[in-house]
Symmetry: D2
Subunit: 279 residues, 4 copies
């Protein structure tokens, strides 16, 4: 049975890598559907992403690629297919709603295994689409206590990725470390401008003429993780903070959706707090 | 002889202002070519900009508007026409070159009275267009010593506005105060992201997916003055800091040109470190 | 009881209109929340839109405005509030889904009275949100026969506006005339480029580097009605027609939502197949 | 002496091409600085662009690549370096001015060998930068007569590329054929919208909310050649055709500059009236 895979390799650059790696794929009789390479000349790091189709013997392929690539190489062979995700939300419905519509019409490249919230207000929305819902209140609890309930719940769903779709709580370093480069957040500003809370109010006070949104991997530095996608819209003086919040929602949801497409199609490498994206 | 004027009023909002002010213009028999109003509901401040044409008795009009508007009103009656500017530059030619081309083809709404630089490298460019050039070196001088030569030179040209077209030195608070809301700077980032020096290197290190430029009035807080215009371009991981600098130049010059058009057409009000722009 | 209204006036321009109209509003003791004027100098047409709040005697106000404005003026006094709309769809869920989420969270400025479709596939989506659904098949019917069922159904809901949210059938001239300037369509290209069918395939074949979407009022010239809003996204050679369709969906739904906000807030005038938008 | 080259290959796709071509480069001991591949799955055409540095024996490399690639392959080995161009203009200075500034500051990746115009008005601008200028009037001449003077002049300069920087005359099919895929035009609209003359007036009349510019290779179908780059800006109803023309200039010059960078860096393939751009 033929299948499709994404082969991702990154390592220190050296002469002949592409030749050797493509040789492995050629000898395995695979079709190359799409291929991209990039060398970061500042750090001499090489990145290669190849979509192949054909019959593949996973362990033989892994071994052959390991021999072809330098010893420091990170090699991933990922079958194409829907990822398994848990979505976390607080009170705002626009990103969750957008994800649920995409999910319902097979446009998310992922299975939403569950929605988890620290509020009750969006339960009705998840219910409309028949997606499992969990309420994990943070009221009167420390972050540790909250995560003592949250972590096993996440664990239970074995998600490939966790999507923070306007989840307004900070996760602990331990939880972030557990899902390294697997938690994606949508921040409601054009980072690094207006990190932290109430970015639209900050944007109003500063009088900017453009606002935006940023999807990034979560690290233990708040709003400092590797940026996956950003977009902006022009505004003018006439918009109040409330109108900025409203206008920003459309950007937030489209940037989050774009970032998820890139990540779920295995198009994103992380290198030194930056992303390399083959799109 | 009929002429054109821009009438600008700002004051605390109250009922009937537009009615009373337009009554003054109507009774003077003026044609209203373009009019805009805005109320900032957070501070209850009212702004009105009207382009009129017709015969105008300046002092009578000023008096009539003063009587029609509330006592706290700031009223300006500005004849339409080319402003008088001094352009200050350091070493980069792209913004100055763009301004000189526009100037030569009557597309700047301003007369460039002179170009002043702390370097010699752009003298040839100013010379090509026959624009007066002054070299005021900062080498081995304190800021005060430097401005002891610079200030009288500026004074001599009696500029309406000073344009910092990639001038890489910080002006003293005294000089900034002398030309309050009359010095326009182009900053090579999407402020408030990447204020300060080497913004493109900062942008590269942070891994942003969009870069931009900001034209703003200069205040004594570095890169913190009221923003007049901003624009951005999408980038990706493949661009080195040098390529970002290169790509950013086009945005810088178009944003600066846009901001100058707005200011030179008297379309910009400043209010609490924000601009109100009627475009 | 105080309420909010939008007063819209358009007529041939003449001196003193703003003064006279604002005089009426002032004497009625109304607060002006937002006001805009525009003169189209090519046709000498004047447009004015004012949001007022206060107690209003509708017929007296209409009479007073009629006396203050020129005889040719079109005057509308519209209470602020949710419009009543019918949404028509075919098979694609992304625009309808977006509208339903906004509707469910009070972000549409409109009541969706019903969804009507010539296909069955989106019934489940309307049902999820408890919105009335009607299936009016066009199979084996002429346009006239189809509209013999469709028209009374529309009539029954007494919609202020009809939203074609990816409705892939052409309406008859009679139906369009019945709802003049009240039917809004989202076209999946940057009009006037790629009017007609399969615009993304046209865009691919032409090799454009940017694609877009256009929301417009429907007239009896296909895809030629007054444009309300447009937006675009950059693409490159690597995108197949199918990927363009996918990428275009996000633009379609955000452009449609923007146009609906503008129309439902009574911000749009139509003049000679163009729109004047006060935003 | 080491040098840099761009190796461009396009042919029908088949398994193993990348492996064989990179094998040739590897065995020659070259460094791969940047590489991109693309397969157009609709036509099964393969494209590959590689920047290499090192000592190169041009004819041996050409032979080795020919043996490695399929028989139908088009192979180009181009030394990196400044192209030689002739710029043609009519009366508008903004694109020519921008090119001359870039040229003067080594930012064009090309040598402007000469400027040719059918009008006299821009001679002064070329003179300011000491670039050779030729006036070839079309007054009272047929296209053939005009080109009897123009063609030998172009020939004399042996240009790699001809840049039509707002040249408002149509070239004959013979001249276009002589410089196939080597004449680049900037069209002042977002093609295919508003092909032909007076696009900004067309855009005004149609009431579009976005205008743009398109840089494309010239073919013998007017404004129908392969598109290299496009960009747009948002506008609104308040802009007259004259203001659209003004606003459009900045887009025209930046789109032209972007297209020239791509072409002069050998980043552009043409395939079935579309461009494949490795950027």
């Amino acid at each position: 049975m033929t299948s499709s895979y994404t082969v991702s390799i990154d390592c220190q650059d050296q002469k002949g890598i592409v030749h050797r790696v493509t040789g492995v794929l050629f000898e395995a009789g695979l079709n190359v559907e799409e291929q991209g390479e990039f060398v970061d000349h500042l750090t001499n790091q090489f990145f290669m992403r190849t979509e192949v189709s054909g019959r593949i013997d996973h362990s033989r392929m892994a071994q052959a690629l390991k021999e072809a690539a330098p010893p420091d190489a990170t090699i991933r062979i990922t079958p194409k297919g829907r990822k398994r995700v848990v979505v976390m939300v607080s009170k705002e419905p626009h990103c969750l709603g957008d994800l649920l519509i995409r999910h319902a019409y097979n446009d998310l490249r992922a299975e939403i295994a569950a929605v988890i919230s620290n509020h009750l207000s969006l339960q009705e929305l998840a219910d409309r689409f028949g997606v499992p819902w969990h309420y994990v209140s943070h009221e009167g609890r420390s972050r540790e206590e909250h995560e003592q309930e949250l972590s096993p719940l996440l664990e239970r769903y074995q998600p490939d990725y966790i999507v923070l779709a306007k989840y307004m709580r900070v996760l602990s370093g331990a939880l972030v470390a557990r899902y390294r480069e697997r938690i994606i957040n949508i921040h409601h500003s054009f980072l690094p401008a207006f990190a932290g809370s109430r970015p639209y109010h900050q944007a109003y006070a500063r009088g900017v003429k453009i606002i935006g949104a940023t999807a990034h991997f979560v690290t233990d530095s708040l709003d400092q993780g590797p940026i996956i996608a950003q977009d902006v819209i022009a505004i003018d003086h006439s918009k109040s903070p409330g109108q900025l919040i409203h206008a920003g929602r459309d950007v937030e949801k489209s940037v989050l959706a774009k970032a998820l497409r890139l990540v779920f199609e295995d198009r994103v490498f992380v290198h030194q707090n930056r992303t390399i994206v083959f799109d």
